[in-house]
């Protein structure tokens, strides 16, 4: 039984279905990546797992529990962290306040978590008093990820974390994500930069038009000639 | 319930009920009163129509109605009252000089704005020009005003009007309001709805302030009484033979009949204007122009992408709607026979008309008219009904009781509370209003 298993997801935003019988699974400490062409339903799949849209069919089991009926906030309490693609920080609030807000649902002392995040992203410690809106794109993403980490999640979901970010920053971000995974947190990531993402992926899901096309380890997908031809530019 | 209402109670029924209510007033209270109410209902309906043109056709949230109505009102004064020759002699030239100077200042400022490059220097130049021009103008303006206001302040103390027939002011009022709307629209129409609301509220206050305090032009809070009447006066009618004859035949008193006849005349005039404007508004909305307006309203971004000049169209609608309101304002003052700046109370004007539009049918001309009738009728009758109600309720209290006196005094204010309740209830339970817009999606009150 996988730590997270979203099986046979079918549904969309109301009118027509975007996902068709899509299945995603992640283990603890594993990095799972969802790639695919535009409009394949990658972000939709992730939002469905988080509860941001209703599924017509399918089941989402997290840590053995069926969480289909839970609202996103309730899923956060269960241990899911979600980093949206855009508008993922409180721009008018300082870095430290953003992290504090990330831990809002926690009632215990958050200083230890704060230090952990600062250890992971040292530049945030430097700029802890600056408004998040004044940071560069890459730094903002770090704040966004840090914010999600403050809830001490067991599963961290990231929606295109490297969108609009320079290659060096992207590498750094992926390094950090690997570190996070090493601490035992399951990672589920939707990525546009398929090649680089699959490099660090333990598991890769290639979605096309809302259903699974290829599912394999990241390395295997990178080596697969068909995958290379159709999605990775040869 | 909504579906049932829609199917069985259409516009004709509602209008019929309205007519019935007026008839009841005539029978139970007096025909004269019923006609007076009817006249004001019609004027209210015209204002609601004007507002609806702005709201329904373009989604413009204009909370400055009162100002445009007041401009129409002052048009009635400026068109029909006789000019005051001494005042013109004393201060006329000073005023004219001031106007020319102001225009010159604006022209120079505009020139500088266009010619100089953006930046600090230009900003300071404009500030200096405007300030300087203002101060110089005041040098001519202030003494002229003093002289004018000194001329027989009890009766005139102002420049007077043009001495033309008062019915002309109905058109002139429309133009005044349209002109002001054009200026204001040019400046503020890019703003989002709540900002536009606040801006228009402010403009109305300014217009009212000017009308209240520039006594040389409007007599200010001294009011202008005795405006010329377009129809014969009741007193004169009482002398005529045919009125006396008919009074005997119908079994009413002569004064009553005279009053009713005059009022019928005014009602006829008002209804004529209403029907004309309604016909024009309806034709407009079914014309290609109207279709384009609706397209813009329903999807502004798409329309803009297609190259439609959205702001330009909005300006057109704003000006047209304001013109209608100006006409109504002139009519109101004409029928009242006097111009009272202090009577322009934003609650009774602007917000009441909004209630009319929302209750009647947001975005729908016929609905706005019905709303105009209903709400105005209610507003007027609420006081006597409230008093009657309070009388009944406090009947058990001793006649000297403070509570009783207080409640009776407060009866007038109950209608404010009830008006608020009506608006809130309609917004919640029937946001389309009583006569929903057919076929197209009703304008933006529902998502």
């Amino acid at each position: 039984m996988s730590f997270l298993i979203a099986a046979h997801m079918t549904g969309g935003y109301g009118g027509s279905d975007i996902l068709h019988d899509c299945t995603i699974a992640v283990e603890q400490g594993q990095i799972a990546v969802i790639v695919g062409p535009n409009g394949a339903g990658k972000s939709t799949a992730m939002k469905a797992i988080f509860g941001l849209l209703n599924l017509r069919h399918g089941q989402v089991r997290f840590n053995g529990e069926d969480i289909g009926a839970l609202s996103p906030q309730q899923r956060v309490l269960k241990g899911m962290g979600f980093v949206p693609q855009t508008h993922n920080v409180f721009t008018s609030m300082s870095v430290e306040e953003n992290l504090e807000m990330g831990a809002f649902i926690r009632r215990d002392d958050i200083r230890h978590s704060l230090e952990q995040v600062y250890a992971l992203f040292p530049v945030l410690k430097e700029k802890r008093r600056q408004p998040a809106g004044q940071l560069s794109g890459g730094q903002r993403q770090q704040v966004a990820v840090g914010r999600a980490l403050m809830t001490q999640p067991k599963l961290l979901m990231l929606d295109e974390p490297t969108a609009g970010v320079s290659p060096i920053v992207m590498d750094e971000l992926f390094d950090r994500i690997i570190e996070v995974a090493r601490s035992g947190i399951a990672i589920l990531m939707v990525e546009q930069n398929a090649r680089q993402a699959l490099h660090i992926a333990d598991k890769g899901y290639v979605l096309v038009q809302g259903s699974n096309r290829y599912t394999d380890s990241g390395a295997a997908l990178l080596a697969n000639p068909e995958v290379r031809r159709t999605f990775l530019g040869g | 319930m909504n579906a049932w209402l829609n199917r069985y109670i259409g516009a004709p029924t509602l209008f019929g009920l309205m007519g019935l209510a007026l008839v009841l007033v005539g029978v139970l209270q007096s025909w004269s009163l019923a006609l007076t109410i009817a006249i004001y209902c019609v004027i209210g309906a015209i204002m609601a129509l004007g507002l609806n043109v702005q709201w329904g056709y373009a989604g413009l949230f204009n909370v400055g109605l009162m100002g445009f109505a007041a401009l129409g009102g002052i048009a009635a004064v400026l068109v029909s009252m006789p000019p005051t020759p001494e005042a013109w002699q004393a201060g006329g030239s000073g005023i004219i000089a001031s106007v020319l100077l102001s225009l010159a200042t604006l022209a120079v400022a505009l020139l500088v704005y266009k010619r100089m490059r953006r930046g600090r220097a230009r900003m300071w130049a404009m500030v200096l020009i405007l300030l300087g021009g203002y101060l110089i103008t005041r040098q001519f303006f202030d003494p002229a005003v003093e002289l004018i206001e000194a001329v027989n302040p009890a009766a005139t103390g102002y420049l007077g009007g043009a001495g033309l027939p008062i019915m002309l002011s109905w058109v002139v009022g429309g133009f005044f309001a349209a002109g002001a709307a054009w200026l204001i629209g040019k400046i503020t129409l890019g703003l989002r709805s709540d900002y536009l609301a606040i801006a228009t509220l402010g403009i109305a206050e300014i217009i009212l302030s000017v009308l209240r305090f520039e006594e040389w032009l409007t007599r200010g809070v001294n009011n202008v009484n005795g405006l010329p009447r377009p129809l014969p006066q009741e007193i004169d009618l009482q002398q005529t033979a045919w009125v006396q004859e008919w009074a005997l035949r119908l079994g009413t008193t002569v004064p009553d009949l005279a009053s009713i006849t005059v009022k019928l005349g005014y009602l006829g005039l008002a209804l004529g204007v209403l029907l004309l404007l309604f016909w024009l508004a309806q034709s407009a909305i079914h014309s290609p122009w109207g279709r384009m307006m609706r397209a813009i309203r329903d999807n502004e971004t798409a329309a803009e992408a297609m190259g439609k000049d959205v702001t330009g169209r909005h300006l057109q609608v704003f000006v047209l709607g304001s013109a209608i309101i100006g006409v109504a304002g002139a009519m109101l003052v004409t029928i009242d026979g006097q111009f009272t700046p202090n009577a322009y109370n934003p609650l009774r004007f602007t917000f009441l008309i909004w209630v009319m539009v929302i209750v009647g049918g947001s975005g729908n001309n016929l609905g706005a008219i019905l709303g105009g009738f209903l709400i105005w009728f209610f507003w007027v009758q609420a006081e006597p009904i409230g008093l009657w109600f309070m009388d009944v309720v406090t009947g058990t209290l001793p006649a000297e009781s403070w509570l009783r006196a207080h409640l009776l005094e407060g009866a007038a204010h109950i209608r404010l509370m009830v008006m608020g309740m009506i608006l809130l209830l309609v917004l919640r339970f029937r946001p389309h209003g009583l006569i929903p817009e057919r076929s197209e999606r009703p304008h933006s009150l529902r998502r």
Partner: protein, 337 residues
Amino acid sequence: MEDILNALALLTNFVLLPAAAYGSQLALGALGVTLVYGILRFSNFAHGDTMAFGTMIAILFTWWLQAQGVNLGFLPTALLAIPFAVLATVAFVLLCDRWVYRYHRVKKAPAVVFLICSVGVMFLLNGIVRFVIGPGEQHFADGERFIFTVVQFREFTGLEQGVSFRTSQALTLVSALLIVVALFWFLERTRTGKSMRAYSDNENLALLSGINPDRVVLITWVLAAALATVAGVLYGLDKGFRPFTYFQLLLPIFAAAIVGGLGSPLGAIAGGFIVAFSEVLLTYAWRRVFEYLGPEGWAPEGLMQLLSTDYKFAVSFVILVLVLLIRPTGLFGGKSV
């Protein structure tokens, strides 16, 4: 030298103190408006009449206290009434939210609907206030009127011009300062306050972080009602109570909030003072000041008044339009147009 002091005395008495007091009152009002706008995302046209309502309750309570023989010495008795007035206003405002605004919030209605609803609430409040206390002017200030009068000042300093410092002005300045400090402490240093700022900044992310929207809304209304009541009472103590005046204050209050940047508390305060000082400076008759500062014996013609006091509201409006055209997000970058 003495001329300069006299000029300063004039300015202090007729410009500085009144504008500072008025600015504080506007700031408190604008704070209420800006909070509601930032968090509930609509312009609350009923705010002026909410102030009137709160002040009305305070007045009734004050009269009752005065009848019981209670007084606060040189301070106005109304201060004792404020807590009860705040409670009553909070209750009313929460009921409004429950019965009026919440329905539309759940339906995700556009902001214009809330605005029209607030117009309905405005009518309601207008009626209630006039029904209960009548439309006329009411006096409820007691206690010492002046901390020091013009005469006392002149005797003390020997200057020709005097400065008077009214108790109501002192109260306004002190209360406004205390309230602002408390409010900022709440918003910047407490978890709840930060959660409200977060909600105002990015609603979706706030919900994702587990911030409870109902609680945020509740606290917003409580704060807005409290600010409205206090602002209303201070204004009433300073300038007398007439229901219609509070409706008219809507314009300068909104001007202040917009100038500072809708949604920004700091902006609301700055805006309040900017509007107040502009109004006073532009309508003050500068003649006597120029007399003192100019050469001996020279007196300017006319009052040297830029705008007649009748046009006070025009000033707020012009400032408002200028800000909307030049810098719509306001001075402190609130939510843009």
